[in-house]
Amino acid sequence: MDPAELAARASYGRLLSILAVRTRDVAGAEDALAEAFLAAVAQWPVEGVPRSPEAWLLTAARRKLVDAARRRRTRDEKRALLEVDFDEADGNVFGDERLRLLFVCAHPAIEAAVRTPLMLQTVLGLDAARIASALRVAPKTMGQRLWRAKTKIRDAGISFDVAVEDLPGRSFAVLEAIYAAYGSGWEDVAGQAAASRGLTEEAIWLARLTVRLLPDEPEARGLLALMLYAEARATARRGETGEYVPLTEQDPSRWDPRRIAEAEAILQETARMGRVGPLQIEAAIQSAHIDARRTGARDDRALSLLYEALVRMAPTLGVRIAHAVALSNTEGAAHAIERLDAIESSASEDYQPYWSARAHLLERLGRLGDARDAYERAIGLAEDDGVRRWLLAKKRALGT
């Protein structure tokens, strides 16, 4: 995203959250803001850009909301009008309500699968088609899910106030949703086409915002560091012909030292807060891997311990697989295969990284026939062509 686009998104999210928090109606606030933007497009070229464009937009949107409430003439009319009657727009200083909006998007009453798209749309103003494409969901389905979620926020009366005791659990849901947005882009290794590229930059931007809004939450910083480490290595994951390059074969000179330095600084500063969590550990694992490639000396025991801790805190499928692979360097590949065997087949059956890891471990054990079968399955499940070609080459190297 270019700086102008980011600035526009910043204002959009800030304005929408002010309107939505006052009216408790995200969909209504979106409509009003959209109309305000339309009015701006018509008037600013003629009358000149107002001194404070954001204040102008907020005032215009507020008028639209009042009009809409009058038109509805419902029993809620008076309440709606009262709640719309706020005066931030008259001054030049807005409070930042985006944190509340983030927390509403991550409310337990909102279906987990729609939290990420809801944040991307309300806080960043991304359109449903773009979100659907990046998260690999049908655009129509995405539109319906978003609409249902917004209707629920309004009709179920989901509170825009978050109690202090709810903060830790809810902030985790916020961070999880941001990480999911990043993951959509990270897996999209190819990602050249602008229309289908992932949401990595947007996710990093949201994480920066969350760190600013939740300065005492170490996991928010952990997530930011984690994504910066990953982003630093993003381009090095591809060779000259677009082939996939695994971390252990990446050329560290192609990493972005600026992002790595920022991530290291964040991680160190976060460690001093003395409250460790899964995202900080994931960031620490990234740091250890990067350090190993840079110095040529990998601390397998430390990595195993970090993964061990991570499995205890967040035993997701991906983490359990990574833990097994890390264990193979300290306790041997046979032990690691046992760990993989313990993963229930309903989860691993169509999960490409599981089969890639399995193939790699079987190959190390010299069980070449089994390794070939596992590579075959991984190839069949690969979505990225670079990954597919890399796996095909691995299988070919095993002979027939």
Binding site: R136, T141, E349, E376, I379, E383, R388, K395
Partner: protein, 125 residues
């Protein structure tokens, strides 16, 4: 739910079918989609431009024409019939299809259920 994954390929895609790497990728994809219990039928199709024959009845008379029904840039190159819990899962399998890496397109179409009236459903609101 049952879906059809209809794989469309460009002329270049059809011409590239002989590439051993492409064939190996397809073999693995077919194996995975069947072994996971996802697909229950399917087939690749020969080049439409050189092998398709089209039939229609005009006033009770068979009109048989050499060539595909529609002359388009992309042609139907193969299909899978799959059974998955929802559209998202169907899209996941569509994305894994090796044709997509070579400019191919996968159309995902929900199948009519048995005895389902063959008319469009009420639009969802």
């Amino acid at each position: 739910m049952r879906y059809a994954l209809l794989v469309y390929e460009t002329e270049a895609g059809i011409a590239g079918r002989g590439d051993p790497e492409y064939q190996a990728a397809y073999r693995a994809y077919i194996k995975a989609i069947y072994e996971s219990g996802t697909a229950y039928a399917g087939s690749g199709l020969r080049d439409a431009a050189t092998t398709a024959t089209t039939l229609r009845l005009v006033g009770g008379q068979r009109h048989i024409q050499d060539g595909p029904f529609a002359d388009t840039k992309e042609q139907l190159a193969g299909f899978f019939l799959i059974d998955v819990p929802d559209l998202d899962k169907a899209l996941e399998w569509a994305a894994r299809c090796p044709s997509t890496a070579r400019g191919g397109i996968v159309e995902v179409r929900p199948a009519l259920e048995q005895n389902e009236p063959c008319q469009p459903a009420e639009p969802e609101t």
